[in-house]
């Protein structure tokens, strides 16, 4: 099957995020950049689907600046076949324009199925994959933790956790978009031969301006701020019986939350 994966490069979740002094954005100086963790699950599921369907190719599609190539190479080292990067260097983008550009590539490539992470851990937008699906009039399932390919390879059966312990089993006709949550399959590590091979796998480059057709962002992040620091509170000391009684009293009478 011809499978696309929408991949974004994000700061590692252990990164302490700093703000520029004029509050206009994130200070990117000390950031360790990685594949968005949910997109890593998407790559893993895409590779498994390729195997289950008896072959084909997995194409990594990224809208991003030059450094995103490192994360794309990492996905190629995991086993993806090639990449397409929409170069956004110097272009102001938002979730809308990003979805618009990606939808153009998905449509040109004629993917049979597209994988994405359920959200990017930087802007937490939960918009891009849905936007691509709306633009293409494709179905989209979100968030998904288990995927099975139908016998005719024209549908997938997926499990969607709804929260509160409830899960839906859905069947989606392809082509469609599957937004991956952390599922049962941990993303594979790139092997040494995989890393070597990835170096020569092709990454095509497209210009954002050619795909945008004059479209511009619909929202702007105008002011960035850190949340107020929480102060350390009271440490309760004493015998277990005594501290538990004190805690219940404090939660009931002082904090008034129980």
């Amino acid at each position: 099957m011809k499978i696309g994966v929408l991949l974004k490069q994000t700061p590692d979740t252990e990164t302490k995020i700093k703000i520029k002094s004029d509050a206009s954005g994130i200070d990117e100086s000390d950031i360790k950049w990685v594949i968005n963790p949910f997109d890593e699950y998407a790559v893993e599921e895409a590779l498994r689907l390729k195997e289950a369907s008896g072959g084909g190719e997995v194409v990594i599609v990224t809208a991003g600046v030059k450094r995103s190539v490192d994360s794309m190479r990492q996905a190629l080292a995991m086993g993806a076949d090639r990449g397409i990067r929409i170069d956004t260097e110097g272009v102001l983008v938002d979730n809308y324009t990003t979805a618009l550009m990606l939808s153009k590539v998905v449509s040109q490539e004629n993917f049979e199925v597209v994988f994405a992470g359920k959200q990017a851990v930087d802007d937490d937008g939960v918009q891009v994959a849905h936007g691509v699906s709306a633009e293409l009039d494709w179905p989209c399932v979100w968030p998904i933790e288990h995927i099975e390919l139908g016998a005719d390879k024209k549908s997938v059966k997926v499990t969607r956790p709804l929260g509160g312990g409830v899960k839906e089993i859905l069947e989606m006709q392809l082509p469609g978009i599957i937004c991956c949550d952390k599922g049962e399959h941990a993303p594979r590590y790139a092997s040494l031969p995989g890393i070597m091979k990835a170096k020569s796998k092709p990454i095509a480059e497209l210009k954002a301006v050619d795909l945008l057709g004059g479209a511009t962002p619909l929202v702007q992040f105008t002011h960035f701020a850190l949340p107020p620091e929480r102060k350390a509170g009271k440490i309760l000391k004493g015998e277990p019986e005594q501290v538990c009684a004190e805690l219940v009293k404090l939660l009931h009478e002082e904090a008034k939350v129980i």
Binding site: P11, V121, D124, C140, K157, E168, F221, T222, L247
Partner: protein, 316 residues
């Protein structure tokens, strides 16, 4: 013509609490626009919940029976609202991005503050799971936002008032996504993102059986069970329960962290909670720096006692 359209949700025939919050906020915002709020309730037999919107000052509402997404777009095209709001629930997060694309409208998700400035919506929302907050300015004529549960106050204008409700049938057959089955593993627990109280366990729990001590306390408090990534990765509990940047962000009034040391990606997922309690053996655990109340000690000794004391308090 309504200024604001809200997507409300129901459970057991009544409005979800976050939909009450949303209605209250929308009515407040509508004053700045000098235009009314129109409520929409999705799902079968939603008319009672739609009527309930009247208590918060919403005068007109539509109940959509059947597959909602197909009916929603024509309704929006008919009513032409300037602002469309939903909750950042599973449904809101799934539907609004598609609407935004179809309407070529800007969307701010998971907002913790909403206001109307110069006739347009303005929003504040967390990014990086709450490590940073951004102000969102809209550049589009139509503005969409989802509101984070537990972020806005419920304001009852007149408890006896009912909204005038029109029910429409959504003709939607042959959808390309079909629900085959619904499995309920742990019924009755609120989702982490909307829970008022969360009791969370970390790697120190040591096994899935030991999570019972967390579940017992949670049940006593009517709380949702949470977990750290370490506990999920160790297989003690499913990923549904993971709090943090690669799990869910909670916005509870009380968060009790048990045996969780407090990795940065966990702290970001829970630090907007109103009151945080930390129980940990290690006095140096970073979690204590974020906690309002801390107890240094063995959770297996402390939690059963705590559960008993809370039962005594509530007279159970």
């Amino acid at each position: 013509m309504p200024g604001i359209l809200i997507l409300a949700e129901k459970e057991d025939g009544k409005l979800k609490n976050y939909s009450r919050e949303l209605a209250s906020k929308a009515v407040e915002l509508a004053k700045g626009l000098n235009a009314p709020v129109h409520g929409v309730v999705i799902g079968n037999q939603g008319s009672a919940a739609a009527e309930e919107l009247g208590a918060f000052g919403v005068q007109e509402a539509t109940a959509i029976e059947g597959p909602a997404v197909q009916a929603l777009l024509p309704l929006i095209q008919e009513l032409k609202p300037q602002i469309i709001l939903a909750s950042a629930s599973g449904m809101g997060k799934d539907i609004l991005p598609r609407l935004a694309m179809k309407l070529k409208a800007g969307l701010a998700t998971d907002c913790v503050e909403l206001s109307v400035e110069n006739g347009k919506l303005k929003a504040k929302r967390p990014i990086f799971s709450g490590k940073v907050f951004v102000d969102v300015t809209f550049l589009s004529d139509v503005q969409l936002a989802t509101a984070r549960p537990n972020s806005f106050a419920v304001t009852v204008v007149d408890a006896a008032k009912k909204a005038a409700v029109k029910t429409i049938q959504s003709a939607g057959e042959g959808g390309r996504v079909v629900v085959k089955e619904v499995k309920e593993a742990e019924k009755g627990m609120k989702d982490l993102t909307e829970a008022e109280i969360v009791v969370a366990g970390g790697r120190a729990l040591g096994s899935s059986e030991n999570f019972k001590t967390i579940r017992d306390l949670a049940e006593t408090l009517g709380a949702t069970v949470g977990a750290s990534r370490a506990a999920v990765d160790a297989g003690y509990i499913s990923h549904d329960h993971q709090v943090g940047q690669t799990g869910k962000t909670v916005n509870s009034k009380l968060y009790i962290a048990c045996g969780i040391s407090g990795a940065i990606q966990h702290l970001t997922g829970m630090q907007s909670s109103k009151v945080i309690v930390a129980i940990n053996k290690d006095p140096e655990a970073p979690i204590f720096s974020k906690a309002d109340y801390g107890i240094v000690g063995d959770l297996f000794v402390l939690l059963p006692i705590l559960t008993t004391k809370i039962k005594e308090l509530s007279g159970k």
